[in-house]
């Protein structure tokens, strides 16, 4: 265990490799006592979309949270030189204040310059203007998810988006908006890594990283993480 995962601060990246991309080397992650990800190596370049596929419990969320620095790796390194934006199972919205206040607060805490017009555009992208001035606690699951995803429109163009089941609870129109946002981001040189069961960003022909999951008895031997 010579090479521990370095702790990174997303918006002040440590550029150790001198390249714009994500690099995962020999990553192993434990949850509890179980090995969830074993010796995974993966490279992602600017402008690429990666779909994480695999059965439940294969380690898709674990991988995303480890890249986001919210779980520590047992072994291996993750190097990422660009800002990270994470949208997970929890939306990161406070129920007490309105969707717009949540979004503006997020932009400010991330030090992003977000004029009122940008906020409006971001909300309009998911047709969230109609309910953005209501307290989040009265909104439905899909509406909250749309507010959480509206952050992506404010993110820096070179950032890496980590999306964990982004289409959970979304209607068809919002799904299309998400597709457009993701492909547009990749076209502008951004990176997206998404765990999803659904067809996603079909126009962009994304790469997929299949996590097979680890059987307990073969945990030490199995090398997994086929890259397609």
């Amino acid at each position: 265990m010579d090479n521990q995962t370095q702790t990174r601060n997303a918006m002040t990246p440590t550029n150790t490799t001198g390249e714009d991309g994500l690099r995962i080397d020999q990553l192993s992650v434990l949850r509890g006592m179980a090995l969830v990800i074993s010796k995974l190596s993966f490279r992602q370049q600017a402008g690429e979309i990666c779909c994480l596929t695999g059965p439940n419990g294969a380690g898709k969320s674990t991988l995303l949270r480890t890249i986001a620095g919210r779980l520590s790796a047992a072994e291996g390194t993750i190097t990422c030189s660009v800002p990270l934006v994470y949208v997970g199972h929890t939306d990161g919205l406070s129920g007490a204040i309105t969707g717009r206040e949540n979004l503006v607060g997020w932009a400010k805490v991330n030090g992003l310059l977000a004029p009122e017009s940008d906020i409006d555009t971001a909300l309009a992208g998911f047709a969230a203007n109609r309910f953005s001035d209501l307290p989040v606690r009265v909104l439905s699951r899909g509406q909250r998810r749309r507010l959480a995803l509206a952050r992506l429109a404010l993110a820096p163009p070179n950032s890496l988006w980590l999306l964990d089941e982004p289409n959970a609870g979304l209607d068809r129109a919002s799904n299309d908006s998400l597709d457009q946002l993701v492909t547009g981001h990749a076209d502008r040189g951004g990176m997206v890594m998404a765990a999803t069961h659904l067809d996603f960003a079909a126009a962009a022909t994304p790469r997929s990283l299949h996590l097979a999951g680890i059987m307990p008895e073969t945990s030490s031997a199995s090398a997994q993480g086929k890259i397609g």
């Binding site: 601060n9 919210r70 929890t90 007490a96």
Partner: protein, 223 residues
């Protein structure tokens, strides 16, 4: 606006929406103070010297009682994930939480204190040292509460126990605070300086301790 101020602004907006919590805390403060004379009886020879200690004990309990859920909401709705990826960092985040919590709990309590001082028949000459000492003391207790809340969040099991472990650390604040409040040689007494020293140590340590507690809590239990 800097990320730090933005975090404070966000917490104040949320606190404003949950402003009934403030009322509960203030009523708790008043009730503790009101219970002492009821229990001790109407003997002013005993009650008079107890005025300042009673205010301090009530303030300590009222401030620390409001802390158990300080970080819980942010953990549950995922805001902590967002903060940890932001340039703000968990240390500044913890300090911002302390400031917003003091503004919504410590400051109203301080404003309420003169009313309580009248109720307890504390002579007006004692008010300035009491209020100054309580100002510094309440800020110190807030920082202590931030440590306790972060530890409680880190250790999912036995969170309440962690909060109890913090209580003994409040003893220096209580001792120097009550002595400074009762000082008869001017406002700036040696006890006030010692109280200020304890506060200064907490100000330096609390954000760091809270940040590492939140970091450990997140990475080890992983939600």
């Amino acid at each position: 606006m800097s990320p730090f101020l933005a975090q404070i602004e966000r917490d104040l907006m949320i606190a404003w929406q949950n402003r009934q919590d403030l009322g509960v805390m203030l009523i708790f403060f008043v009730i503790i103070i009101a219970l002492f004379p009821l229990a001790i009886g109407a003997n002013s020879a005993i009650l008079d010297p107890l005025g300042i200690p009673v205010v301090w004990i009530a303030a300590l309990l009222a401030i620390l009682a409001g802390f158990d859920r300080l970080f819980a909401q942010d953990v549950r709705d995922g805001w902590l994930d967002q903060v940890s990826l932001s340039p703000l960092g968990l240390g500044w985040y913890a300090l911002a939480k302390a400031i917003s919590h003091w503004l919504t709990a410590g400051l109203p309590l301080l404003i309420m204190t003169p009313v309580m001082a009248i109720m307890l028949n504390i002579p007006t000459i004692q008010w300035p040292p009491l209020l100054i000492a309580l100002l510094i003391g309440s800020m110190g207790l807030t920082l202590l509460g931030v440590i306790g809340a972060a530890l409680a969040e880190g250790a999912r099991r036995g969170g309440a126990l962690m909060a109890l472990l913090i209580l003994p650390l409040a003893v220096p604040l209580l001792i120097f605070g009550t002595l400074a409040s009762q000082s008869e040689d001017g406002i700036i007494s040696p006890h006030l300086m010692l109280l200020g020293a304890v506060f200064a140590v907490l100000l330096a340590l609390a954000p760091l301790v809270a940040a590492s507690a939140l970091e450990i809590g997140e990475t080890e239990t992983g939600l």
